[in-house]
Amino acid sequence: MQRIGVFVCHCGTNIAATVDVKAVAEALSHEPGVVISQDYQYMCSESGQNLVKDAIKEHKLTGVVVCSCSPRMHENTFRKAAASVGLNPYLVEIANIREQCSWIHKDIATATDKAVILGKAAVAKVHLNAPLTAGESPVAKRALVIGGGIAGIQTALDIAEAGFDVDIVEKKSTIGGKMAQIDKTFPTLDCAACILTPKMVEASQNEHITIHSFSEVSEVKGFVGNFTVTIKKKARYVDEVKCTGCGACVEKCPMKKVPNEFNEGLDNRHAVYIPFAQAVPKVATIDPNYCMMLKNGKCGICSKVCTAGAIDYKQQDRFIEQKYGAIIVATGFNPINLDKYDEFAYNQCPDVVTSLELERLMNAAGPNGGTLLRPSDKTHPHTIVFVQCVGSRCDDEKGKPYCSKICCMYTAKHAMLIREKYPDTEVYVFYIDVRTPGKNFDEFYRRAVEQYNVHYIKGMVGKVTPKSDGKIDVQASDLLSNEQLHINADMVVLAAAIEPDKTARPLATMLTTQMDTNDFFTEAHPKLRPVESATAGIFLSGACQGPKDIPETVAQASAAAAKAIGLLVKNSITCNPCVAHSDELLCNGCSSCEKVCPYGAITYQDKEFRMPDRTTAIRRVASVNPAVCQGCGACTVACPSGAMDLNGFSNSQIMAEVDAICK
């Protein structure tokens, strides 16, 4: 006979305000098998848990139902509590009467009725729960970091520091990411390259770190502790081992008119290139879209000048397969495309630039050697207008609904640097709100206003129009003085919204992790598990999870590393026991389950069975590898003979819930 305990949580007033918790406890006390039914203010608190534990001991409970918040929140808490007093944790069920009842309903009577039904369903289910024991599976002691920007580099360094091997996969020919393109960093104004490049070198020299540059993840199989990843090393037509990075090939390459993506297309590079002087690995790459040798077999100069013999026009994409225990996503961000914002004339006028382009224009290693010149005529700009929130905070099809977070600060930085270097330049910043939370951030912005006399104007630019004399008319509103302004500018800088890298979406599909509607990766819990994805073993680092500045990115990168290390130090991890199993007596050997299993967890074996007449027969039956099965249940529905069932979500358990709800 089952002895079931029911525990109804008030969650302060979160549940109790709309659900009559006492009535729920009373109603459920009459359900078959229920021997105790109690309510308590905070069931998840220590005293609440003790209440559950004491009841288990006192009433020798065989099953527990907690009516509380979502099982995604506290299922584990109550399972652990049960286990601590000797009740198998899988004999605990949660009825979600907060997220799916009290928070969405207003009428107490109907909400209470619904809570009772949800409770009854959980009681009906727990009657059929079986004690489950989790198996163990080994952990591969190696981590994969996808993305080699500051987030990926920091995560890899921290994991390597703990003594584990880490591979960085970077799609570009060098690591460094966006930070390598940036001139100065806020709020300290130190040089980005001076703090980033030593980290890049450190990563390349660390014995635990392997950098796969110019590579992509092409397939991910497996599960936490046991991922098998195929990495595509794209053909760069240069032997990475032989190349010394001397640059002789670049110097002699006759194809000089390739837009330089490192400088945001503001100048040109050669068809064979090393993105920048401090690139890691410092290895040349040939761009097959422009190389004349690769396009039509005419040239071959680089091969002739390379003393190391590193040029290999016949190089092919290579695929390598590696096992990993943990994967950290650090795919970063990009500014959005501004094609839909032609009112700002970005596509019509070369002197309208994005903030990232301005970084390159002001960078000592940039196209103008650090002197700020207009792209159109290489003259000094004397009036510069900054437009904030271009594509951020939008509620239309063109832009992004979120605040890009970093623009207020980098614009203050740009404005300040320009005023510092060129005091004869007037700088206007059109803002909607200035958002500067962060250590020393608001002080930084105030310095731009008070010390550097940057003109901050509350209002938005409506239209930017290039004129025949090369000037740019900026028409904008000044909301505080209530007038419409026309500024005769030399340059306009647009703070374009940032968005996740385009590779993130297909990667999320490969990793079976969740994304939000903006293609940012979703964390396992927005407050309490910010660097883990909901998929075990996949961690999030940097701007792939949401807009972030450098300090925040580095902090999150280290946090993700700590989480990954916590996984890698284990020799084995507990598997999910809610896996499929086959009743060999019912199995007819049809292979339906094997075909639908996405993990290859089901195999068929010939097994000897004793027949009723005491003879033996060999039959072909399915068996599930519990370490590989992830518990989706596809096989249970495919099985025509009803032999396949799923622990924790068995046919009879779900039917019992259905019955309870429909009664």
Binding site: D342, N347, K463, T465, S468
Partner: protein, 265 residues
Amino acid sequence: MKTFTYYPGCTLRTKAKDLDAYARSCAEALGIALEEPADWQCCGGAYTTAKDEIATKLSAVRTLNAAKQAGNPLVTVCSACHNVIKQTNYDISRDEDMAQKVNNYLKLDEAYTGETTVYHYLEMLRDVVGFDNIKSKVTKPLKGKKIAAYYGCLLLRPAKILAMDNPENPTIMEDFIKAIGGTPVIYAQRNECCGGYITMEDKAQAVKRSSAVMNSAADMGADMVITACPLCLYNLKKNSGSQIPVYYFTELLAEALGLKEDTNE
């Protein structure tokens, strides 16, 4: 030969007769049959966006329904008519409440709920005739002429509804100019309002707006300006004080196709 139901609108019957005449002769030369519905009413000149305005939307629906009955797409030349009719068509196909009220008024045999496809004459040239096709038929190209296309507000906005071109950086008229052999001039004010009907209420404002447009075109070195709207033409000619000539785009098309003299006879 493709047939379109052709809605001229009030002004093309009176003050803008050439816009109409050139449109008809060019269509014929380009293999398009324009059928005018038996009796049509003025579209009202401006679309009333208010949800509680029904009567002002009826005449546009009558025109749309006439095209539906004829089984043709509908084409207009005047930017204002086009704007009113396209917005009406868009709203009636999406706003059930409006569709019901309008149909209750009209008592048509079959309710009209946005079935007709609406083209502006320029869209017809681009999407049905094809600018390359026009180019091949041009006999007197406007070589060396620097022509500024004036879109104004009605042709492009709201872009979601008119769905004709990029509202901030349109190309349809520039491509048209290239097709008839001219050189398009891009200038800032080409998609800003000329002042429109404000000329009735506040002449000074109309003068200010239309001068801004013409000065901007002049700044970029335009020899002439073309438009599709009679009211734009009026403001740009009468109110701007500019000496740069303003033409209907159909007039230049007729000229390039060698039809101008025939049309005027």
